[in-house]
Subunit: 388 residues, 4 copies
């Protein structure tokens, strides 16, 4: 069994934020399959998220999505979170579900609609001020479906203008985090399609504006860890949205589609100072559990990140540097692969046990009876989903 | 202006089937933007589809989707179509919106669910027998999201078994048309992902089982016209679902994303005997008009197909054969490009006028007032969409 | 340490064929970087290949490429192989380096050139008859660079005609193995671009014609293990060309780019009866070591295949079937991942030691001094490469 | 016939630079098919390039590639160009064909090799000073083939350091133009893989450092015109390398694979102030004519750019702006498509004739006898290619 002692304290630095919406129903354009026991309100979402932290110790905060998680009292919500052993985290804005946003939000040609979208972000900042959240995460569905539909340059300029107004409003200890996405829901062009655009836009704002990298938002064949390296080098990697994909933005469990890619990403995070107490790069999940159970799906996900982080921390960097310096291609690659192929799971089980956590969080959750209890208890009401 | 006389009668052979669902609301997993005036029932969909044919003469039939287009009396629906100058066409089955189909339909492990999916196809055949439809088109959402979720081989064998039972039920003058799709809504594997699988499956059934090629259902970089050529060569190209795409299955207006690709596809259709009276390859549209007007969107689409067909028919095949035989790469390519770059629109306007059709169908429809009338008239009720 | 006893005998069934050309120089269109010690003739290639088998016990045969490996006496070559503990295997034809083949070989319009290409395959069969080879592997560079350059349908028909003539010539115990490739070196269309085409072509020939699946020859996002499953189901998976890729046909060390994909492929091979003594699917490498050392590169490659095969054989198929039958998505996926994450390397080292093989073949080769000796000895002469 | 009068003077602003290497032999890693009549030295390449300008009036300058176009006297070469009616243009460096550069050039860990690569650029600047060239174009083959092979971050830092030294050396009226490329010849990572990296690197240098966009250097599905828009907006679009592709970096004739994409790119160039006298964005070709005739291939290419530029200039921008402002998706798209589908070729023939140029440059060149004369005259010597 591999010895985790040298990396034990580093492992303890890991904090992964869960998305509240992962506990609601989700699906594809073809069908949303509802699941029994799904939360009916933000409080129940927090309760479910707290289960993940309870069994793993990895997920101390929960991200909110406004308006999906709008409540009358954010103090009550924060208190509920605290009572359940977690805290509220990043606030995510939503400008893609109002009829006004059919052709755009912060990039819209119509001043009224653009201001409405800006105002929505102001409202999100108000929530942040109540919840004590650091990050305002902005993912935009803005884009066009047909060439000629709109003027891409004008939209880019309006994007800058809108973001400037939002940026002025955030506090000294808050950050504006701009996510990019290659395509979807727009088909022809996306207003923030790549890291270069997000980087150019946030650089024009200031120090507290940074980039969010969602691992599912790239063209086929993109070397994502290169972007991780570059954004860390440029001081602009604000956060990750972790998930995995085979084809498009599948939003599958992180590490499920290409575990070796996740490993390479984490190696670059560690190497570039983005991990744990080293830096300010937030780890978040952004996934959909369309057909699998949601709470165990999130437990599996944070464990995947933890296991792969352990492997990344185990890389023999001294030997690697020596092989690289010698131009020894096979040895350098071999040193990396050795860490990847190391089975860290038994040692991590011990590491967890030493911290009063269950050795097998999946089994512990299954044995807890929580899943059955919410199915029994949550009868009636409207299940949460992307629409509410 | 190019002389269309040599291809005039061939142009008259063109028949493009419209999908009833193109007139209902559609969208992405993020949002369906409803449009005013959208049909509330299959009769209204037929009325809208008839507008396309009225102004273009290109779209004499309308495909149905069961259960979305379920009615009490298909005789009444057929009569309504006839009254509006069109007829009912292909029947499309739907096995992706019942909760039972979460993990599969005709490939499901559970005999009950599999039989339910087969029975649904039997019901579709009953509809066909009432509407006089030739084709039963089967697109399956079956697949898995995670490696290991199910045994792909077992699913393939059950697929064969289910299709065999459905095939036995179709009439002597009917066809089973099996569509393939690279991905979506399943993320890890699709049970009929490529033309090879569809071809192998329909070949195992018999002569009246053929393949449907949807132009949006391929991996990036796929040479679709090669597949058209190959399926025509093998005698198995049953039908097209036309649309266009930039990234995934965007379902945009046919010809909107890569008009040259549409041209190359039609060149192969003509060359391989799949066009018009030459063969049995059906032309259908399968598109979504998420943000643009639906009836003009369909008019634009059939015109795009017609214009590109005209260009394909104009290829100087004798000169092309000579250049190809001489190994003259630039000349051969130049002959093809010459047809593509020919502006056929003015001549087609004349061709239409000579047949009592409007020179400019888009303008004619806009001037007709139909669009405004349905917005005014269709108040109340539930708009049609993918869910109903 | 995982217990390999239950799969020990199955591991012993593994045989991976090496390509002679992997030991010669190779590169990109930009530059071939020559390496010291590279073989000057087929005998030296065999000697190098034998080193791989000596240290791993996994690679008992070597594939030849004609004309690169043309020798005066194949008896002498076979004797040389035997003396070095290996044997000659598959014969690969080459119809892409003669000026006559600029616009095609077996698909060429010119009868003379087409016959020349057919004759080359006859010559390959003659070699097979001398070497006792079972398989004639045909990879074709045939295709076009520009739309219209040639008639794809005519080429497909000539392909069938040429293959028929070649097929008639092979012996009762020989096989014609047709490889497909998505693109390169042709840019617009490839005459055998996908498994469907290869399958349709070999099916038209007869039972002894089968498909070769090169793991680097697919569109981005293709589910390769699905194709493995399908070809095994259809009884047509003749052989693998293993390698790995990030973008195009990179021909990197197998398992280097996406080890989890290699695992999934091997799971389907085992499940479908294509592994070891179960079936007739040949395992071959087809790789280029452009910048890394060639012999250790091949050793690393066969070990990667062995390690991943061990993981595939370790899948708890009974538990997997139970979870699949229950529709338990997370558990089924978890059972598969458990095998993947198992570190089989220490147990495989013991397994090797028990068979008189070095525990660490990479280290054993490095310690052997063979690498230094060929650098010292192979001075003068022309190094082997793709051109000779 | 469309009236070109309104855009006649703008068409006259078009200048497209030809690559000297397009006239030498080129091919794939599998084979370079030599063509008769190919130049043996830089003087003959210039002579061939001049033929393109003679018949089209579009290509007044020729780019050099060092060391491929190294000559004893650049004055003589410039004089030769002038005598043939053209001038020397951009100087391209080459750091991918020396054995020292196997693992990198300006990013190499070894100070000696890195300095050698920097010195090569200094030598290129010396050439520029003799030829009066404005642009030093840098495309780097630097990258790695395997994860772990080298430290990407260190390479990025060394890249910055090397470029800084080169940038210091260029003159006040010269520019450093940094090209990016998604992949090839490196497989795992490329040191300048995307516009974001090139933009970040040149921004760190200064005003005279800009980006080169090669139309073939992107991931599948990338919206290239968006990048054109963004780089023009950021003031960093230095130049284009035009060509076309179906899959990878195919280097086919510009406009051959996706003419509509070329149109959209040119629309954004015109809209963003990058066309002709409006700005400083250089148009260059970077293509390979592997199987087609080279001089006619270049003539075809510049005509394709001219024809598509004419279409882009014909877009009814006022009507487009109105439709966009109204949110009329179909009309806005229709206005763009109307320009694309306009057949500008007859009017361009007249436009050329009015300027003393042949109406049909392809035919004029064919009739000139130049092609036959170089085949007859250029006997003996070594044909130029990528190696020399």
């Amino acid at each position: 069994m591999v010895d985790l002692a040298p990396i034990s304290s580093r492992l303890a630095e890991q904090r992964i934020e869960l998305p509240s919406w992962a506990f609601g129903n989700s699906g594809t354009r073809f069908k949303v399959f509802a699941q029994p026991g799904v939360p009916r309100d933000p409080f129940e979402k927090i309760s479910d998220a707290a289960q993940v932290h309870k069994h793993t110790g990895l997920a101390p905060t929960v991200a909110l999505h406004i308006p999906w998680d709008k409540v009358d009292s954010y103090d009550d919500l924060a208190k509920h979170a605290e009572d359940n052993g977690v805290a509220l985290g990043t606030v995510n804005s939503n400008t893609f579900q109002d009829d006004d946003y059919k052709l755009g939000s912060v990039t819209h040609r119509d001043d009224r609609i653009r201001q409405k979208a800006i105002d929505h972000h102001f409202a999100c900042i108000d929530v942040m001020n109540q919840t004590g959240s650091r990050d305002l995460k902005i993912w935009l569905a803005d884009g066009t479906n047909y060439p000629g539909q709109d003027d891409m340059r004008g939209r880019q300029d309006r994007l800058h203008d809108s973001l400037s107004k939002i940026y002025e409003r955030i506090g000294e200890n808050q950050r504006l985090v701009l996510e990019y996405k290659f395509f979807e829901p727009a088909f022809y062009h996306t207003d923030v399609p790549d890291w270069g655009t997000s980087y150019a836009q946030v650089s024009a704002l200031g120090e507290r504006a940074v980039v969010c990298l969602d691992t599912g938002h790239h063209a086929p064949g993109t070397n994502i860890e290169f972007i991780v390296m570059q954004l860390l080098r440029l001081g602009k990697l604000g956060s990750f949205d972790f998930n995995s994909r085979f084809y498009a933005d599948d939003d599958l469990i992180v590490g499920a589609a290409d575990p070796f890619q996740l490993f390479r990403i984490l190696v670059e995070v560690v190497r570039g100072g983005g991990y744990g107490d080293d830096g300010d790069t937030a780890f978040m999940l952004d996934q959909c559990h369309n057909i699998e159970d949601k709470i165990p799906g999130q437990i599996r996900s944070v464990l995947n990140v933890q296991e792969m982080t352990a492997r990344a921390l185990l890389v023999d960097t001294a030997a690697l540097a020596t092989a690289q310096a010698a131009g020894d291609v096979l040895s350098a690659n071999g040193i990396l692969m050795d860490a990847f192929y190391t089975d860290v799971r038994p040692a991590l089980a011990e590491w967890r046990a030493a911290r009063g956590l269950p050795e097998d969080p999946m089994a512990a959750y299954a044995a807890s009876g929580y899943g059955a209890s919410i199915v029994a208890d949550r009868v009636g009401g409207n299940q949460a989903g992307w629409g509410a």
